[in-house]
């Protein structure tokens, strides 16, 4: 049976300005145009602008953990913000299943309040994801169990270590049970045992029908661990798209990490070759 497509992305483009003053100037111009409903030709770059995403097209299917790699500034986070509807879509098309729930995590602690207890923060963050009080209460046992925070849940969130904050943030995000989960470098903190538990959870999660994960990371070990397919981004372009994880990472290291010393590159390549899939 063929797998359902969760997202179809075609010819996606997004431009930004590299200069602060131009950035503000274009902001004012666009604001005026929008206010009066004036249509402008967006396909052209204005002075000091660059393509943060340039003609990106791909399909994303259920059951996939799609690893997205690319050096800093390659457009990974911009792509994720457009897919999660944080950045408006201006050029290109994105199709998703009707009523599909897309939950992004860009920063696990974002929106959590240091003066409130962990338990209070579960309600705050859960509500931010659009959950009702009843839905959060229903998920409370799962969150308590997954975060393994025990009695710490009743002490102020601000006193938590970064690992504990990550546990709680991730447990709340998982409890939303989205169709498409966007994880953008959000698992960079926390202890390795917890991270391993998260990866196992995600692998099981996508086995359910209609579920998929977009996983952004530059850590090749993490990509090797979880990804079922890899997209390589470079300067706003999608330059490689393959289910062969090893080949994708080889391509990424050889073509994108231009500033990395040759010795270090070789070490990374060796790591990939020796990784036991």
């Amino acid at each position: 049976m063929s797998r359902q497509t969760l997202l179809t992305v075609r010819n996606l483009k997004k431009k930004f300005s590299s200069d602060i003053k131009y950035n503000m100037y274009y902001g004012i111009l666009d604001l005026i145009y929008d206010s009066f409903g004036v249509k402008v030709n967006q396909k052209k770059l204005r002075a000091n602008e660059f393509w943060a995403l340039n003609d990106v097209s791909f399909d994303f299917k259920e059951g996939e953990i799609l690893g997205i790699v690319g050096s800093n500034g390659s457009g990974k986070t911009t792509l994720m913000r457009v897919l999660s509807k944080i950045y408006p879509l201006e050029m290109g098309t994105i199709k998703g299943k009707s009523g599909q729930k897309i939950i992004p995590i860009f920063a696990l602690r974002s929106g959590m309040m240091p003066l409130f207890t962990g338990r209070e923060n579960i309600f705050i963050k859960g509500a931010m994801y659009g959950m009702s009080k009843a839905e959060i209460k229903e998920q409370m046992a799962f969150i308590e169990e997954f975060s393994e925070l025990g009695k710490h849940l009743d002490s102020p969130f601000g006193n938590y270590s970064s690992g504990m904050k990550a546990r709680l943030g991730f447990a709340v995000a998982l409890s939303t049970k989205p169709d498409v989960f966007i994880i953008d470098e959000a698992l960079a903190v926390g202890d390795s045992v917890f991270k391993a538990k998260c990866y196992d959870y995600l692998k099981d999660y996508v086995k359910q029908p209609g579920k998929g994960v977009l996983f952004v990371s530059n850590n090749i070990r993490k990509i090797l661990k979880v990804a079922t397919r890899v997209l390589v981004m470079d300067n706003g372009n999608l330059i490689y798209n393959s289910e062969d994880i090893t080949a994708s990472l080889n391509f990424y290291i050889s073509h994108c990490l231009r500033d990395l010393e040759e010795g270090k590159k070789q070490k990374m390549l060796l790591k990939i070759q020796n990784y036991d899939m």
């Binding site: 063929s2 359902q4 497509t5 179809t8 930004f16 300005s17 602060i20 950035n23 503000m24 274009y26 902001g27 004012i28 666009d30 604001l31 929008d34 206010s35 913000r81 999660s84 509807k85 944080i86 950045y87 408006p88 879509l89 201006e90 098309t93 994105i94 199709k95 998703g96 299943k97 009707s98 897309i102 939950i103 992004p104 860009f106 920063a107 974002s110 929106g111 309040m113 003066l115 409130f116 309600f123 705050i124 509500a127 931010m128 994801y129 659009g130 959950m131 009702s132 009080k133 959060i136």
Partner: protein, 285 residues
Amino acid sequence: MEDANHIMEEFSKNRESFFSHWANTFRNIKSYRFFINQLIKINIQTEFKKSFIGLAWLFIVPILAVVMWVLLNGAGVVDPGDTGIPYPAYVLLSTSIWGFFAEIYKTTSNILKANGRVLLMNKFPYEVLIAEKIIVHFIRFSIPFFVNILVLIFFDVSFTWLALLFPLTLIPLLFMGAAIGLLVALLRIVAIDISNLVDEFIRILMFMTPIVYAPKLSMGWLSEIVRLNPLTYLIGFSRDVLTKGTFYEIEIYFIVAAVALLFFLFSLSIFKIASPKVIERLINN
């Protein structure tokens, strides 16, 4: 292959019709009402969580302001004209109504700057924040306002049944403050100089509105500004309904109120359309 349960829909490009635009706003507020609740709780509690006297601050600030104006009046620095009711009561009430306008301007105009990072990291509708700010604004206004009523009674101000209309008469003022605030919120990201100018203008506007003096003044150019200033009518109407049980310039009040409502709807539409595009220009993300 797409089956019936798997209809692919295109992501919107902000081209909603007028009605679906407003229907969306209400739907968003409804489905995120628990989040609005949580934000209200955070807003009210955070400020006072580490303070020993807590909510008492809501009373202390307006009382200090009144004391200052009464002292200035006693020293003969200000000549308020005929205020109708005792001067301290007049100033207390007027400054608190002015505060109602100025505070909603301040909170709405900072809505994107203050929440920029959260808005870049999480996806939730922006109108949730506006709803929260308006509700918190009413709570913050009503608590010290009870103290104000006591002070008015102390100064022998008598109330009629029409005083009960007072909260309703504030609504146009809220629309006016929020309308300016939402436009400035966008400018605060892309045109900082203009937003700073508007901030200063709002500060100066207080002295061009009959707050610390009576509206009927023969002061040349100032009288003319006071006459043209829409806030004169919005604030004067609320004040007279409460303290005199009369309607101050009722026709002009209703015209200004209607303009304020239309201005608010216009601002909210612009804010909804433009804020995602403005937010992506935040540099410090």
